[in-house]
Symmetry: none
DNA sequence: CGGTAAACGAGACGGTACGTCCGGTCTTAGT
DNA sequence: ACTAAGACCGGACGTACCGTCTCGTTTACCG
């Protein structure tokens, strides 16, 4: 967790969940910038001190909210009414990325899912908030890299490693560079809104990237 | 400009420059999140109302500060003491990217310059602040796209268009996708700090991207 | 005034009066101990900072409220509905105490009025609050002695001085001691509630005191 | 005692004494207004609940502290370092006031002792605190009147009763009025600080009061 | 003399108010 | 007319205590 150090044994799990749920919901409703600790405490039915006791900053709360989400502990449909089936939620802890043998198709599916998630109004604002906080707080960034980024990154690496072993990628490919070659452009379009973030864009990126990473022979 | 609409004729140019300079300096010193209108006004020796009269938000002030910088109006060395010669500053209004005929070398040089700028402590914090604000404010994002992004983007497109015409890139390449294929990964590493942002990384990205964008047959 | 030192020229008189009126009313309604700056600000329709800007403490606000009252600036009937005629209000700035020539009758009338005022529910709680604050804050006590106590004290001294000159009191009488000999017992009964505070008690005190202060011959 | 009703048999005497001692000390050090239950509990090495279990209010704790003091149960020198011998402490449970036959001398001695006690820094702040609480809390005032005031008051009455029987006072004198005629002025000067509280003042008060209470013929 | 119920120390909890800071508006002087 | 200055209302900040409520841990009575 991202928490401080009082006597954690006596900690109220109910309050913790209420706070994280409230934080995530509010981040989606009013945006991270306008999110206040007072509002979180009020929505969660909790004293402010209970937040300050366990988290050092607003960003840390939101981070833990994502962490909880990624561990599937959030009540279904948090953030709004219903949840369509088949969605790839932030926290999908599916053990692995799809591997049908068709690398390009698999990656397009995953990157399209990422695009869909970034466009989902339930996640858009909270994710921008978290990203913003990570941008400005190196400690939080390290935590993010370790807890939220790395597990997903490893799944992506695994899929690419398999492809590399199968001769579909150049044997010298740096897997992290490979991943960033595809996710970086998507992330930057989402953040900067310099151009519309479409599935076609995702497809184009995958195609170009795979061509660039293919064996040289 | 990003400004509101009172009688601009009577506007004090000295105050405007003082405000933008103060905003940029403070953004670099204490970070955008802790930057306050009051502090800008105090540092600039200006009443708060003079800021509120001409700019709608803190982000707009910072945006204009970058705009001024990009137009070479900021006093040399703003942000700190010395400035090494030969640096590629944010506002380099060089008419065009280098074109030596060697596309890969040219792009590596430019992307390395981008990496260097993002790592420069004078620009790191203010740029994160501006990016953060763009992330959260669609209006500002549009303004950014038009005023700050587009001119530079067009320079990049121009260089790639020349390469495409010379048969160094696939004729079907979408130039914006091509640019984002290289700058997206760099931007995302810088923002998320998921891995060190090095010149080697920039080189790898250029190499892979160019291979991916090369003519197909 | 009891105020601090910002640019007093720009001060809002409307806010000042609203704050003092609200403070006095609330002191009467809920008692000084439960009186909060937030409640005063809310009732007065004022930002908290406007209170903190001009007064150093809750006690100072209440003090100024009494000061305003004593200068007849409070709207009639503050504290409750109507105000019966003929009452001796805190701030009665009548130039002098009655002087009918009958010292005992005059003093009994005045001391009975004091008893009535202390028993008046409009003044009881606020006066206890002010007294409590004076008890604990020497600075405020000095201010009280100078601004609120002294003018009234001088009126009492004046009446006794006249009586002394007329040979009704011993020529060696210390007028302050004389005053305290009568008002001290009344004040202490009111504060400590060790026995009921009645007009008969006031009369007894006046009689004994005057006998004690009479010429020795 | 001033306490609530759990099974008093199991009550920890050590905790009770530690709490009362801590409360008295802290009242002297930081003043009653800034005294907090948490600080008392911390100083006494006691859980907050142990205070809330046995006392209904902060004032009740302080009251009991004085009660303990008046019963001579406080460790010698509580409140500061040394204690000079021969002092007239709050709790002097001497069976009676001095009776040398010289009423005026006896009363001056006692009233001077009162003045000294009120001026003693060990008692000044705690006494002001207790007084303040009595002022605002009628229940506590009644308890005070019965437990702390009445025993001392009766001693004073006794001395005056003897004097009255000896023909030194008017046979119609109300003894409570007589006492208040002397102690009231002293109390009010102490509380309001309208003038210095000196032994000369005490003497003057006694002289005037006795003259006023003397037989009429 | 071992079991148990109460009081205990500790401290987390939902709250209220503190005194400060800043956002954005409005007023006053000054140039 | 526009500025610098700064008071104003509002409202969030992070802290201190409130009084309540568990937690284990003594402690002292009782069976």
């Amino acid at each position: 967790m991202t928490t401080k150090t009082p006597n954690a044994a006596r900690r109220s799990e109910a309050s913790r969940r209420a706070i994280l749920t409230a934080a995530f919901e509010l981040a989606g409703e009013i945006g991270y910038a306008k999110l206040t600790i007072e509002a979180i405490a009020a929505r969660a039915g909790v004293g402010k001190q209970t937040i300050y006791r366990w988290w050092p900053s607003k960003g840390a709360v939101l981070f833990d909210a994502f962490l909880m989400l990624s561990e599937g502990q959030l009540p279904a449909g948090v953030g709004d009414g219903g949840e369509a089936e088949g969605e790839a939620a932030v926290g999908d802890t599916a053990a692995a990325l799809p591997d049908t043998g068709d690398l390009e198709a698999d990656l397009k599916a995953v990157l399209r899912a990422t695009v869909a998630e970034l466009a989902d109004p339930r996640y858009d604002l909270p994710l921008r908030g978290l990203t913003s906080e990570i941008m400005h707080d190196a400690d939080l960034a390290a935590l993010y890299a370790e807890r939220l980024h790395e597990p997903v990154q490893e799944m992506k690496r695994t899929r690419l490693r398999a492809a590399r072993a199968a001769g579909q990628l150049d044997p010298d490919v740096d897997l992290d560079v490979a991943v960033e070659l595809m996710w970086g452009p998507v992330l930057s379009r989402w953040l900067m809104r310099t151009a519309p973030l479409t599935e076609e864009f995702a497809d184009s990126v995958v195609e170009a990237a795979l061509r660039g990473l293919a064996p040289k022979a």
